[in-house]
């Protein structure tokens, strides 16, 4: 059977196949994974990379901030080994901070993909390991000063060479993590996933020929680009800007961090300019360049083509101006432990800048943080436990409807909270309340969604990391809507005292202490006076608004 190059039908077959392979990789990874950051939080991405380190395709349903950014990790390996330096059976591991720009827990693995003897691409994935060593454990730690304190770095090392495992490297990894079973188990799942992706892509090439497949992929990218451009053209040309603030870097508590963005639209091209972004900070709330680019890309993708698959073509109409040394482009050896904390705010601020130009495209601000907690310690039998949970908050009111309640941030897509019953089965906790937080949504023509109230009673002494942000600059309303309620955390001690906490690393928790998280609500959209009376009445009936309506 002969097939024309880039025949529309072949293009469609290839378009579906390359994403299906990435999804298959994701399935093999998540179903066999050992830590909730992978199987519940889905803090991973899988995809195919070409020999120029470009992203051919990416799985659906992974973490949104992993946007076509596996390429930089593979590019480093290509630079090191050369295209002739890979053999079948190789598996490369990579998490180095300077190149990847993310915290070291995010470990990339990839396998070269061969058709006959020719290298035709790579299958790669990145997944969040529960621990990679370093001075502190659990997410939300402010305890590091530089990247060396945050764990081991592995820069483009072959963990398998032509099918043979590098036992030295394996041992180094095993000896440098607090949870070796989990880390090595996850790595095993990652490797199996890479091998699967490489095999599938080789089958596709064998079927249609490399040239045809690559022509089809180029066409798919072109189509993604054209879709994005068509949307940008609907945004009036102009220079837009907005700013907002994060609370602090966890070190200098009275110094808010300015998130300033400029967005320039010209025709079908968009530029996101981070030149005036807060400089890098001593605390670990920095990312490398990858963080800034991810923030700009999420906002861009949500605006231009939320329903199309992610690939290299989607972002061609986007230019990101990001000088070195900002909070989103920190120079080594900056600490990157909380690399993603700023991103929900960065994304919302980009959207805020464009809100006056395209009010019908953009909701009011959402809760604005990553939302989560970790408790860790030792059980009676001496074994370690680490409870991690992610929880949602309110999303902003939208042009035609209220915001959604209790949803994870814009940086987290198919990320799930951990069932109460599961937490109580596995960890020494009793959860007293898991409820919507009434009155937390900003009032407006379309009300902001509600945050969550979650109360843990700890049954055993342990430690916790608490990591609230955006308590000074609440989730904003748009077009006359009001702000949502801000994040709070209250520890009611077993001895009767009570303390409100915003940020804490390894705070001591005694048996019987109760820790309550109140997550932020979304901002309102439009003037509250324009809210439909029946909508207000329903809010009261359902008990989600209990205060008296303002005069």
């Amino acid at each position: 059977m002969t097939r024309n190059d880039a025949h529309p039908i072949t293009v469609e077959v290839v378009r579906n196949a390359i994403v299906a392979y990435a999804d298959e990789m994701a399935n093999a990874l998540s179903k066999a994974a050992y830590n909730m950051m992978i199987y519940e939080v889905r803090d991973y991405c899988c995809g195919l990379i070409d020999t120029k380190a470009r992203m051919i395709s990416q799985n659906r349903g992974g973490l949104p901030i992993f946007l076509a950014d596996l390429g930089v990790a593979v590019a480093d390996g290509i630079a090191r080994y050369g295209l002739k330096g890979f053999a079948p059976g190789d598996v490369i591991i990579m998490n180095q901070g300077e190149v990847c720009g993310q915290h070291l827990n995010n470990v990339v693995l990839y396998s070269p993909c061969f058709h006959r003897d020719e290298l035709v691409g790579f299958a790669a994935n990145r997944a969040h390991w529960v621990d990679i060593g370093g001075v502190r454990q659990g997410f939300g730690s402010y305890g590091s000063n530089d990247i060396y304190a945050e764990g081991i770095q592995m820069r483009s090392l072959k963990i398998y060479e032509a099918g043979k495992r590098n036992e030295t490297l394996w041992q180094i990894i095993r000896d440098n993590t607090r949870y070796p079973d989990s880390a090595l188990g996850d790595m095993r799942a990652q490797i199996a996933s890479c091998k699967l992706g490489a095999r599938r892509y080789a089958e596709l090439i064998a079927r249609y020929g490399r040239e045809t497949v690559e022509t089809c992929i180029a066409k798919v990218w072109d189509q993604a680009e054209a879709s994005a451009r068509a949307v940008i053209e609907k945004i009036p040309d102009g220079d837009y800007e907005a700013e907002s603030f994060l609370d602090n870097d966890g070190r200098t508590l009275d110094k808010p961090l300015r998130v300033k963005v400029k967005v320039n639209v010209r025709g079908s091209q968009m530029t996101v300019d981070f030149s005036e972004m807060n400089p890098q900070v001593p605390g670990p709330l920095n990312s490398g360049r990858g963080g800034g680019i991810a923030g700009a890309r999420v906002a861009f993708k949500a605006l231009t083509s939320p329903d199309l698959d992610v690939n290299e073509g989607c972002f061609r109409p986007l230019e990101v101006i990001l000088p070195e040394g900002t909070m989103l482009s920190a120079k080594p050896p900056s600490a990157l432990g909380l690399w993603s904390v700023a991103l929900p705010t960065v994304i919302d601020t980009i959207l805020k800048a464009l809100a006056p130009a395209v009010p019908h495209f953009i909701p009011a601000a959402h809760k604005g943080d990553m939302g989560g907690c970790s408790f860790f310690g030792f059980r009676d039998d001496g074994s370690r436990f680490l409870l991690m949970n992610i929880f949602g908050g309110g999303w902003g009111g939208r042009p035609d409807e209220d915001g959604e309640d209790a949803s994870v941030s814009v940086c987290q897509g198919d990320v799930r909270n951990t069932p109460v019953e599961l937490q109580e089965i596995k960890y020494p906790v009793l959860i007293e309340t898991h409820a919507l937080r009434p009155n937390s949504g900003g009032d407006g023509k379309h009300r902001g969604g509600l945050g969550v109230e979650l109360t843990y009673q700890l049954l055993q002494k342990c430690k916790a990391n608490i990591n609230l942000d955006r308590t000074l600059d609440p989730p904003w309303g748009l077009h006359g809507g009001e702000s949502g309620a801000v994040n709070e955390c209250i520890i009611a001690r077993a001895d009767g005292s009570e303390v409100a906490i915003k940020k804490a690393t390894e705070i001591d928790i005694a048996a019987g202490d109760k820790v309550t998280f109140l997550t932020a609500g979304g901002g309102g959209y439009g003037n509250p006076r324009e809210r439909a009376p029946e909508a207000s009445a329903q809010d009261v009936t359902a008990g989600v608004v209990t205060k008296q309506a303002k005069p």
Partner: protein, 683 residues
């Protein structure tokens, strides 16, 4: 013994029966307002004498439609104090990751009808706070005052100790005997409070309507002097009594699609096919399911109404991958020139452009017609004449024009895109499970299945396609072969090697008791039911589990080497790796109780010697296969007249009353002794 299966679908009501040793079939339009009329009509069409029937098997879309249309009962939810919003919060996830205008699942029960009561169990099932019965008494009054028809009750850790739920059920039922009450532990006895709440709420929400429907159906049948049994098809691939269906209507959610796959499983077993892929293509969707040794895979949960904003259910369902590509799927172009097929469907009304009912959207059936692959005069057994010109116009306007392709070229494209999409679904049920398609055979049925099966098989290297007898109404036939089946589960959490034997035995005993009680209630003869136990196992630290058969409870509490070996092998097969050195833990124990049918009427008919009808002369038609510019002069064969052993070499089109099978050049179909078409695919 005379039995009939009636499958009410969205568009058609299909009937297949074994009456006086013969197979009867009929197909008529579904009457949405009164589905029992469709049953009556299909029985009349097939000339079935009601008093002569000994059993009626039934599948229906009533349960799923009640959910999708949100037309269930006025329902209340009762939760543990502090957890009123478990149902509304859900898992907090956003499946459409970049969509700022996403919608999360909307509870079927509003917050104002959700009530908390004071009670609390811990994860081990110990009572931390006793149930405050006075609160429940007060709630019973509220329920009556608010005209609530159904109540769902879901307490934390009720899977471990259901005492409080049971007590609430007793109090509510005593106060209002007509109330439809669903207790979560009766529906899904395993941890994960949101999914369990959602499943319980679904059951309560659809309960009164399904109960009424089944009551009416039974009443109607009795009025017609039907004295036999009525069994209802359920999502787990088995059947249940009407009474059980009225208590657990949630378990008949997928009753239609599942029946065909069960039928394919039986056929695979009869033909000795180790590993088969059931492929069913109808008007709006195509479904694929993996069948190993005659048994389809079962999943533990799924989502009704779309992954992103649908309602999760935590009950077993035959693992069917469904994709939005059917005969009625609409082909369209995006502004950048990409051609897409589905997921929108033209349904039966207005249907394909070729129906001439005014639709200008081309669908897959239109494309097949333009390519000469289906017969304009024989569609739906000649009941629906098709208009080729109308199909061509629609394809020209919506697809060929915008992409600068010829009409036939565009039509071929539409079919190939649909084939590619469906082949991905078939891939998902095979390679995703670690099964190599080259070692499988495809069993193709449904109105459109045999038309596309060979192309899909070739696309993913399946060497053999089987088109059974009566492919167009095969789902109804499947019902005649389904076993009675009920699934049970209990959470049992712990490390293999350190489980307490007494605790394990207690769990098994409890499951066995529950199974025996259900068997007795449904009138299954004692001793005829099969009890199979499985354990959900995983490596310590993993979340997802794999169910492994457990013949003896001692395998969990004593020497577990055989389980270990089976688990490692299964893990390697599914995920490409295993860790034989790592510790294993158990999470749940499952019990599957089945009782096979006592008759084998349908099986016998499937394998009995084929008697062809008198010969009908072949016709000839121009059919496009791979080159739109060069249609092939193709033999058109009337299937009912073909004798066993007949070889039909492609290119050929094999037509029969409710289906068309396309044989491509190079492929060869053979009529088996029993009359099935066996197609060898040239790879």
């Amino acid at each position: 013994m005379n039995i009939v299966g009636v499958d009410i679908g969205g568009t058609f009501t299909d009937l297949v029966g074994c009456v006086d040793g013969h197979i009867v079939t009929s197909k008529c339009s579904t009457v949405p307002a009164d589905p029992t009329r469709g049953v009556a009509e299909s029985l009349a069409l097939a000339h079935c004498e009601m008093p002569a029937l000994s059993e009626l098997l039934h599948g229906s879309t009533i349960a799923i439609n009640t959910v999708l249309e949100r037309k269930g009962a006025r329902t209340a939810l009762i939760t543990t104090r502090g957890f009123r919003d478990t149902y509304a919060i859900g898992r907090g996830n956003r499946i459409e990751a970049f969509n700022l205008f996403f919608h999360r699942p909307k509870p079927l029960i509003p917050r104002e009808l959700t009530f908390e009561v004071t009670e609390r169990m811990n994860a081990k099932g110990a009572v931390l706070k006793p149930l405050d019965e006075s609160e429940v008494q007060a709630l019973a009054k509220v329920v009556a005052a608010q005209n609530i028809e159904a109540v769902a009750v879901c307490f934390l850790h009720s899977y471990a100790n259901p005492a409080h739920e049971r007590r609430v059920g007793d109090i509510l039922r005593a106060a209002n005997p007509k109330l439809f009450v669903t207790l979560s532990h009766e529906i899904a006895r395993e941890y994960r409070e949101y999914e369990r709440t959602s499943t319980t709420a679904l059951n309560a929400f659809i309960g009164p309507r399904v109960q009424t429907y089944l009551g009416r159906l039974e009443h109607h049948l009795r009025d017609e002097r039907f004295t036999g049994k009525v069994n209802i098809m359920r999502s787990n691939g088995g059947v249940m009594s009407v009474r059980l269906a009225q208590e657990q209507p949630v378990s008949m959610m997928e009753s239609g699609p599942v029946a065909g796959i069960i039928g394919a499983g039986r056929l695979a077993a009869l033909m000795g096919i180790e590993c088969a892929i059931g492929f069913d293509m109808g008007g709006t969707t195509a479904k694929a399911s993996l069948i190993t040794k005659g048994v389809p895979a079962i999943e533990d949960g799924y989502v009704i109404g779309g992954e992103a904003s649908g309602q999760p259910m935590q009950i077993p369902v035959v693992d069917i991958v469904e994709i939005g590509a059917g005969g009625g799927s609409i082909a369209w172009c995006d502004p950048t020139g990409g051609i897409h097929v589905g997921p929108k469907s033209a349904g039966a009304d207005p249907g394909p452009a070729a129906y001439g009912k005014g639709s200008t959207d081309p669908v897959v059936t239109d494309a097949n017609l333009v390519l000469g692959r289906i017969n304009a005069g024989r569609f739906l057994n000649g009941a629906m004449k098709l208009d080729v010109k109308a199909a061509e116009r629609a394809i020209e306007m919506k697809v060929a024009g915008p992409t600068h392709l010829g009409v036939k070229e565009a039509a071929l494209g539409i079919v190939q895109i649909a084939d590619a999409a469906m082949s991905l679904a078939v891939r998902a049920v095979s390679v995703k499970k670690g099964v190599d398609p080259r070692e499988t055979a495809m069993i193709a049925f449904g109105g459109a299945g045999p038309l596309h099966a060979v192309a899909i098989a070739r696309e993913i290297f399946i060497p053999k396609v089987i088109v059974p007898k009566v492919p167009g109404t095969f789902s109804a036939l499947g019902m005649l072969m389904a076993s009675w089946r009920q699934d049970f589960v209990r959470t049992l959490y712990g490390l293999l090697g350190s489980l307490d034997g007494k605790q394990v035995d207690a769990v098994f005993a409890e499951l066995a008791e529950a199974g025996q009680a259900q068997v007795a209630r449904d009138g299954i003869a004692p001793g005829t039911a099969d009890f199979s136990y499985l354990a959900d196992l995983r490596y310590v630290g993993q979340e997802h589990t794999i169910a492994i058969p457990v013949r003896d409870p001692k395998l969990l509490s004593g020497d577990f080497a055989p389980l270990r070996e089976a688990f490692d092998a299964e893990h390697d097969q599914r995920y490409g790796q295993a860790a034989p050195d790592e510790r294993l833990e158990v999470v749940n124990v499952r019990l599957v109780v089945t009782a096979a049918r006592t008759d084998t009427l349908a099986e016998r008919w499937l394998s009995e010697k084929w008697t062809p009808e008198p010969p009908v002369a072949d016709e000839w038609r121009e059919v496009v296969f791979t080159d739109p510019a060069k249609p092939i002069h193709t033999r058109i064969v009337w299937r009912p007249s073909q004798a066993s052993g007949k070889r039909i070499e492609g290119p050929a089109v094999i037509e029969e009353p409710n289906a068309t099978t396309l044989i491509h050049p190079g492929d060869v179909a053979t009529v088996s002794d029993a009359g099935h078409l066996i197609i060898d695919v040239m790879l």
